[in-house]
């Protein structure tokens, strides 16, 4: 039991050290620009489809559930508000982060783990190239910038999904849908906070993905375990961080 706790806490320490190193080497992005762009493609552009489809479905469900619930209070015009706020404040950042870690985070961990197990990382070091600058930094910042963009896409598509089900299918008034929404969604209180959440999640899940890759055991089992860890730990961390952020962003005054 003690060893487990010791190992996990020292992992946390190592992870934080990695984060500091990633921040410190931000400017090496300039030299590895090509790699950075490739990584944005690898993590972000390739995730567009899963995020868009998921966002649309979540929007549909929110619209449907919202309509059914608000129908009882006779306030179905508020469904636009409900869909938008749920997405922007919570579901957008959280679901995007979890889907991202499943799709791109696992890919990042697998890539690094594989490079580690086939000695490619050591080969780089032997050529006086730091994997930190050449591999980890571009991947980290590429992922970190992809998550907020994907969150924005998720929320937008979700709102459109909500619009589709409630206005087009269920007959809620289109004008009421948009105007109620606009009256309740505040740029600073809701959208900015949602954006801050997604940036925090972005840093956390990309850090975890890269870290798990670097400590993976250089075996087939080791890499698969690392990938699983990335997805699981990322999901749990996102939910925990979400709680912390929500409690001081959206409650009280």
């Amino acid at each position: 039991m003690n060893i487990l706790a010791f190992k996990n806490i020292s992992n946390l320490g190592e992870e934080f050290k990695l984060l500091l190193q990633l921040f410190a080497n931000f400017f090496s992005l300039r030299q590895n620009y090509r790699q950075f762009v490739n990584d944005v493609f690898f993590t972000g552009a390739l995730s567009i489809i899963i995020i868009t489809i998921s966002g649309f479905f979540v929007g549909l469900v929110l619209g449907l559930q919202g309509y059914e619930t608000l129908k009882r209070f006779g306030s179905t015009e508020a469904v636009g508000t409900m869909v938008a706020l749920s997405l922007i404040r919570e579901l957008g950042p959280v679901i995007t982060a979890i889907l991202f870690s499943a799709r791109a985070g696992s890919a990042i961990t697998a890539k690094i783990g594989l490079m580690k197990s086939s000695d490619q990382l050591i080969a780089m070091e032997m050529m006086s190239v730091l994997p930190l600058k050449k591999i980890y930094v571009p991947l980290f910042y590429a992922g970190a910038i992809s998550v907020p963009i994907l969150t924005g896409i998720f929320c937008s598509v979700g709102v459109l999904g909500g619009y589709f089900i409630t206005v087009v299918i269920l007959g809620v008034d289109s004008g009421a849908f948009w105007s109620q929404m606009q009256n309740s969604v505040d740029l600073y209180h809701d959208i900015l906070n949602g954006a801050i959440k997604s940036v925090c999640f972005a840093l956390v899940i990309n850090l975890i993905a890269i870290y798990e890759g670097t400590i993976s055991k250089p075996t087939a089992d080791g890499v698969s375990r690392a990938v699983t860890n990335t997805v699981v730990i990322s999901a749990l961390s996102v939910l925990a961080v979400d709680f912390i952020l929500t409690s001081f962003m959206f409650t009280g005054a």
Partner: protein, 153 residues
Amino acid sequence: MKSMSDFWVGIFVLLGIISIVFLSFRVGSYNTFDKKNAYSLVAKFENLGGLKEGSPVKASGVTIGRVKSINFDVTQYKAKVKIYIDNGVKFPIDSSISVLTSGLLGEQYLGIESGGEDLFMVDGDEFLLTQSAMVLEKVLGQFLYSKAAETND
């Protein structure tokens, strides 16, 4: 050396920008309350309810201002609220201001009903007539009291 991945990254970033613009302007309210073209007034309330800084100030349902600051007045033991009002909108000195709730589940805002006097309030003036937020316990208490009074008759 441009490759296909560059193209998709470009599309990706473009989609991101479009969605952010969409969210900001179409979904959210772009609260550009121009503080430069506004003057401020003061109102004191017994009870503010859930009024916050930045809450809207409306007249006849139209938003014409924002709550600037909320403080506690130690001399009068009331909540002292400073509000911004658009420069073009003027209210007579006998106007009243109340803490209202929008809809059933809505947020609280300040509603102004204009009075009939000829003199208008200027920057720094204080409202003479204020109506505090309805506190549920008090209303219930009043209701129960009046009901009790009825049955005693």
